[in-house]
Amino acid sequence: METQDKVIKIVSEATKVDAANIKAETNFVDDLNLDSLDMVEMMMKMEEEFGIEIPEDKTEDLKTINDVTKYLKENV
């Protein structure tokens, strides 16, 4: 599975939003209405799935599906 598809799948499972409605440009706060706790939980799932640690100061910059996908591609 492509990295972006994996990211979308994780986000869809965490938010119960249909994967078909999550796109590369989907913004976690503006489009999915996630709060700070939701964000932490989702990043935790990314770390688990991709076997990495995302430093806390980086997570603040990851605002869209595309941001996360790009970060993972560069760091995994």
Partner: protein, 415 residues
């Protein structure tokens, strides 16, 4: 200051006997047991493998959003489910009360203990970085009242009460006091508990508090019977809507009963054992009777604490005989824990629901499995079958570890 009368305008419940008050009441009148073998968890290493577990339940999406369901421990699901039933019956949402005058005060003995156990396992296996940010909000005891306030917009007093197996009784007392003092118009009260988990079952088992009758779970909870050998864990919730009686009347609400008496004492004796002579429980019942402004002979029915432990049932029997003297033989006593198991911090919640149904239906729910009455338990425990009786006053006892006692008296509503 004028003390307001306290009306009960709605009840809601869930436990091993059923997922609604109608279902629970129907099963109780058929003398059914709500106790069963635990088949939704791996109990291979559990010394006790049965409990009064809730079956075939999933909270509605309307009460808890699908993404929230796994984020809140089950005691919160039960509280919200039973609250929804009680609110519908009371038609509270049609009342034109100021939201700052609607409170929520619920009891729970242990809060979200199962999620603490599970998260500890995650922590040990995967480390601190894998502890969910929703862990703390999922288990704190007052999150049931918190979620209720958010769901309905109730902005009045909001807190949890924790006093082990008396939690819901103290919650009801606190809620009734708020109404009596005129500080709120309505309060959601009662409580919930859901701690059928490996560690709690092991802990209560180590205390020798639990029945180990794994072969016949439905026979295990047998208060006042010779062969009783410990309590049976239960789970669920029992919720009451309390309202300022005059305001409830003015809005045309159906008044099911009144809360008229409250007693609360401490044994000051032992961490877990009850005072054998009713040291704390006698004054507790007397206080409740006095605060109701009635005589002990006015009580028609006692829903006993009656947990089916060898020591506790005798101590409560002695206390009842001391308080009620010759009237002790005339009144009906029953322990609905024989059917539901012991809901710990939700016990007084579910039992208050039974008390109110007893008043409105004129039927006393039975103590089941009472085949051979203990000679030291010599009262009329309403053995095995419900009894029809016109009831005006009902007394509910709840006692908890730490030597805490609470008694509530409900009265039939008469204009």
């Amino acid at each position: 200051m004028e003390i307001k009368r306290v009306a009960v305008t709605g009840i809601g419940s869930i436990c091993g006997l059923g997922n609604s008050t109608d279902e629970i009441w129907k099963n109780a009148l058929e003398s059914k047991s709500g106790i069963s073998t635990i088949d939704n968890q791996d109990t291979e290493n559990w010394p006790v493998k049965f409990a009064g577990i809730v079956r075939d339940f999933e909270i509605s999406d309307e009460l808890l959003d699908p993404k929230e369901k796994s984020r809140f421990d089950i005691f919160i699901h039960y509280a919200m489910h039973a609250t929804s039933e009680a609110i519908k019956q009371s038609k509270l949402l049609e009342a034109n009360y100021n939201p700052y005058r609607i409170g929520s005060i619920l009891g729970t003995g242990l809060g979200g203990f199962p999620i603490i156990e599970n998260t500890h396992t995650t922590y040990m296996e995967k480390g601190a970085r894998r502890v969910s940010p929703f862990f703390v909000p999922s288990f704190i005891p007052n999150m049931s009242t918190g979620k209720i306030s958010m769901h309905y917009g109730f902005k009045g007093i909001n807190h949890a009460v924790s006093s082990a197996c008396a939690s819901s009784a103290h919650a009801i007392a606190a809620a009734a006091n708020e109404i009596m003092l005129g500080r709120v118009d309505a309060v959601i009260t009662g409580g919930s508990e859901a701690v059928v988990s490996p560690l709690t079952m092991a802990g209560f088992n180590s205390m020798k508090a639990l029945s180990k009758n794994n072969d016949e779970p439905t026979k295990a909870s047998r208060p006042f019977d010779k062969d009783r050998n410990g309590f049976v864990m239960g789970e669920g919730a029992g919720i009451l809507i309390l309202e300022d009686l005059e305001k409830a009347k003015a809005r045309g609400a159906t008044i099911l009963a009144e809360v008229v008496g409250i007693g609360a004492t401490a044994d000051a004796y032992h961490i877990t054992a009850p005072h054998p002579e009713g040291g704390g429980t006698i004054p507790c019942m007397e206080q409740a009777i006095e605060s109701a402004g009635i005589k002990y002979t006015d009580i028609d029915y006692i829903n006993a604490h009656g947990t089916s432990t060898p020591v506790g049932d005798i101590a409560e029997t002695k206390a009842i005989k001391s308080v009620f003297k010759e009237h002790a033989k005339d009144l009906n006593v029953s322990s609905t824990k024989s059917m539901t198991g012991h809901l710990l911090g939700a016990a007084a919640g579910i039992e208050s629901v039974f008390c109110i149904k007893a008043i409105t239906e004129g039927i006393i729910p039975p103590t089941i499995n009472l085949d051979n009455q203990d000679e030291d338990c010599d009262l009329n425990y309403t053995a095995n079958k419900p009894v029809k009786k016109d009831i005006k006053y009902v007394l509910n006892n709840s006692f908890g570890f730490g030597g805490t006692n609470s008694t509530t008296i409900f009265k039939k509503y008469e204009d």
